[in-house]
């Protein structure tokens, strides 16, 4: 059997030699009693290093969310990108950690790995749905561009009634687009008809540009998918840890990281049938449990805030987009023409704010999409490697 040919070379090629062993907090790590086990002493250090890496990652995400005192960075585009970066490096470490380990073919690891693989494949659908959500935000951003174009964010041109009407049309389209799927955009869509040309068609808001089920099936639900990723995700039992030489622990850890990252993406980005009812029951002795739980709570709190309750995504920039465009809408409704100088100054101020939001989104969205894609690719790679090497071990005939 080809897979067994590797048994002799099972120590990972990229072991984290550089990591300070002294800094490992053995008392918090579950696997320290595996001395003299099959793969030698080296793997134990690696296992602990991985725990520490995950704990550090959540700590630093938590710090990033809270540090900027004036501006809470939690759920901002840059924070989400940091989250995905962290995920990618964890995933890589995890891969290296398990690379060519003979344990993987034996119970209970074969089962645990199979479970993990199933979870990660489910995460792929979340990635695809999130990509659609990003596309949706991009469409909103295009509507904002129209507003900026109409109301001259370059501050060089005169503003007439026509420009305001143009901006308002885009703002209404945006408001329709930003309504959650469940709400009906009908009333707004009717209001949107700025001019009576009652032909045989309804005005179609371009805000509803592309349905969210562009990539996933129509019945797909992010909420259900998250629950499915999290189902049976439980801390490994002692006998499994012993039988797996401790490797059951990183598998559980990575499963939890995966679930948290996917949950956060769904919380932040619009996608089909969002829902955040996922529970994280992580035993407190894991060093990463505390920061993960704190982040989880904070994001939940965010979702319960009054102004965010019906939001289609908790991404900070979506909220800013919503707020800025609402303020501008109200202002635009209040102006009289020709414009007075004071009003013009006020409008230009609001437009400037909007331009800033727009800029942040424009700059952050493409890299975010690439990252989501990268997460997708990495998960797939991990899975195919599993199919190539492990699959054979499982296949007796």
């Amino acid at each position: 059997m080809p897979a067994t040919d590797y048994q002799g070379t099972s120590s990972a090629p990229f072991a984290n030699i550089g990591r300070s062993i002294m800094s490992l907090r053995r008392d918090q790590v579950h696997v320290h009693s595996m001395e003299g086990s099959h793969d030698g002493a080296g793997h134990e250090v690696e296992l602990e290093a991985f725990q520490k890496q995950v704990a550090d990652m959540f700590q630093s995400l938590l710090a990033a969310a809270a540090s900027a005192s004036a501006n809470d960075e939690l759920l901002s585009l840059s924070w989400i990108r940091k989250l995905l970066d962290s995920f990618l490096s964890c995933q890589e470490e995890f891969r290296v950690l398990l690379y060519n380990k003979s344990q993987l073919l034996r119970p209970p690891m074969d089962r645990l790995i199979a479970d993990f693989n199933e979870r990660s494949v489910k995460a792929l659908d979340v990635c695809n749905a999130i990509r659609d959500g990003i596309e949706q935000i991009r469409q909103w951003e295009k509507l904002l561009e129209i507003v900026l174009c109409a109301l001259d964010n370059k501050n060089q041109r005169a503003l007439g009634e026509g420009q305001f009407r143009r901006a308002k049309k885009a703002l209404v389209d945006l408001a329709i687009g930003m309504l959650d799927d469940k709400d009906s955009g009908q009333t707004l869509a009717n209001r949107n008809r700025s001019f009576g040309r009652n032909k045989d068609h309804h005005h179609r808001s371009v805000g509803h540009f592309r349905s969210l089920s562009w990539s996933v099936s129509r019945s797909w639900s992010a909420a259900r998918q998250l629950q499915s990723i999290g189902s049976n995700l439980a801390a490994p039992r002692t006998n499994d840890i012993v039988a797996s030489n401790g490797f059951a622990v990183p598998v559980y850890t990575m499963g939890s990281v995966l679930l948290f990252v996917m949950w956060t993406l769904v919380a932040a980005i619009p996608c089909q049938d969002r829902g955040l009812q996922v529970h994280f029951n992580i035993p407190r002795h894991f060093a990463w449990a505390a920061p993960l739980n704190t982040l989880h709570e904070r994001i939940l709190e965010e979702s319960k805030k009054r102004e965010r309750k019906n939001a289609c995504g908790l991404l900070k920039e979506i909220y800013q987009m919503e707020k800025c465009s609402r303020l501008l809408s109200e202002l635009a409704d209040s102006v009289q023409f020709p414009l007075t100088e004071e009003k013009e100054v006020e409008v230009r101020q609001r437009v400037k704010e909007l331009a800033q939001v727009c800029e942040t989104i424009k700059e952050g969205l493409d890299p975010l999409e690439r990252q989501v894609r990268e997460v997708f690719h990495r998960i797939v790679r991990g899975r195919t490697e599993g199919l190539d090497s492990l699959g054979r071990g499982h296949n007796p005939e």
Binding site: L124, D125, I146, A158, G162, R165, L387, S389
Partner: protein, 639 residues
Amino acid sequence: MEKSLDPETSGSFNRKKDDESSTPRPDAHAEELSPELRSSFAQIMEDVDRFVETLSSVTEKSSFPEIPDCVKSLLKIIESLISKYDALTRFGQNQEEDASFFGSMNRVSKLVNNLGEFPSGSSNSSFNRASSVLHRAVCLLDDEFHVLLENSKRSSNPDHKSPMPSKQSSFNHNQELDQSVASQPETVTEDEFPSFTKESIANMNRITKSMIFAGYELECCLIYSAFRGKAFENELDKLGYENISTDDVQKMQWEPLEKEIASWINIVKRCLTNLFPGERKLCHSIFSDYPSIAERLFVDLATALIMRFLNFADAIALTKRSAEKLFKILDVYETLRDMLATINDLPVEDLEAEITIAQRRVGESAVSIFCELENSIRSDNGKTPVAGGAVHPLTRYTMNYLKYACEYKDTLEQVFQLHPRKNISYSNQLKVQEEPKTMEHSESSEFSIQVRMVMDLLDANLAMKSNLYKDPSLRYIFLMNNGRYIVQKLKGSAEIYEILGEAWYRKRSSELRRYHKNYQRETWSKVLQVLNHEGLQVNGKVLKPILKERFKSFNSLFDEIHKTQSAWILSDEQLQSELRVSISSVVIPAYRSFLGRFKQFLAPGRQTEKYVKYQPEDIEGLIEDLFDGNRVSMAKRKN
């Protein structure tokens, strides 16, 4: 740069006067232009043009310029036209009015654009009014664009007749004639995606031109992409395309999944060869003055669709590898290859990278599946020999699989070359590397190396299986059967023959001959020994007891052979008859000569009957029973 084009400032206006008769239309209950405005239309346009020209030459923009009367007249004209179109009129029904509309609108665009450069315009009522009128005009076009995009012939009900003349000819004002003449040939291309009438495309072209000229490029593109995205979604719906989530693909049984793959391939191919070119053409016809916008719109749409298709390919590459999936997966691979070739001339690096990644994954999956064949051969080590030395199912399976695989030879060559197998076990690698030296295929492709490796494994496996037979003769029958099967398959497939080469084939054939000889020796040499004339005579006298013994031995040997070997199988008819012929040619002459020489020494009657059990003709008949795999007929014969 594109904005500086003015699509309709000249042209059809000058013809207006010749054509007064085609207006006014009875259904236009909006206010008509006053005769003064009408007659001076050309003059007003000229004045506005001159005014705009002076505006653009002003360098000091601090104080807002004086607005001449011609501007007010222009705004009045266009407002009245807007009201008219707002009511019921459609573009394309009255060329002259359309021309007036677009001509005046484009002048308003220029006005607003130039006046906007004076910052104090914000508080100027003329600027205000002009911008507002321009926005109304754009909204009108926006609505019209929606309607036109929504009503392709494709999406409308099939017997619905388009109220518009099917052919756009901007200077032909006789609509009745136009319609009756041009609508017939049009139906031929009716089903072609995306199915807009020429007239509708021409209208959209004018609309987008004017919207972009008015500075509404963003809206124009947004509407276009929204509707075309929707149109594609409908088209895919019609073709039966459905998104299946990655998760569901993993859970699907192979049979339904196979159908999904086939349908995916069909739809992707249709997109690549039919829908995309149609869409691209449409983009370029509607945005003919803005090729870069057209290309961007098309690329965005195609990219979104292809990314969607790739989700499925990625999901397929993730399914559990198993042998029967190879061929469909290779189909997917080929489709992705076509996809890559199709987008070759588009500026889409990211997309190209994504397709390449998906293609690599599918390719690796194919390689890995093909290599599974080795494992299934290696792990096939049952201890029960096939009855009668017949062709082993493993031989059939392997050879048929290879034969089928070789129909994808070019693709497999490519797949193995681009995505060399990973995790190859070292012993195999070494074996493969040594081979070229001993044999003549030094320029072998990865794939042919792989095929040879499979053949070697099969050989080794068959050799092992042959040892399960205790009877050496049966062992050779088994080897002959399987060897013959392999050679026949080889002869039947030019591709495998080519891969394995003539030398390999010759080697096989000579092995087969060796098995044949070995069989003859194992089974029939004893018989021939019994029929040997030597040792029967001493001093010219035949030793009767020995002779009797010889006859008895022959009878029992032959009976035994007949009994066992009639149950053996040679499934290849030619091989069967070759072997029988060669047995007969050895055994019958020997028996005949033995009989002819020694029969006389037996007393006629009972003694002869007792020892001469068979006439040569009987022997011939009995040899015909061999290798039939038929125990029943043999049993009958015995009684």
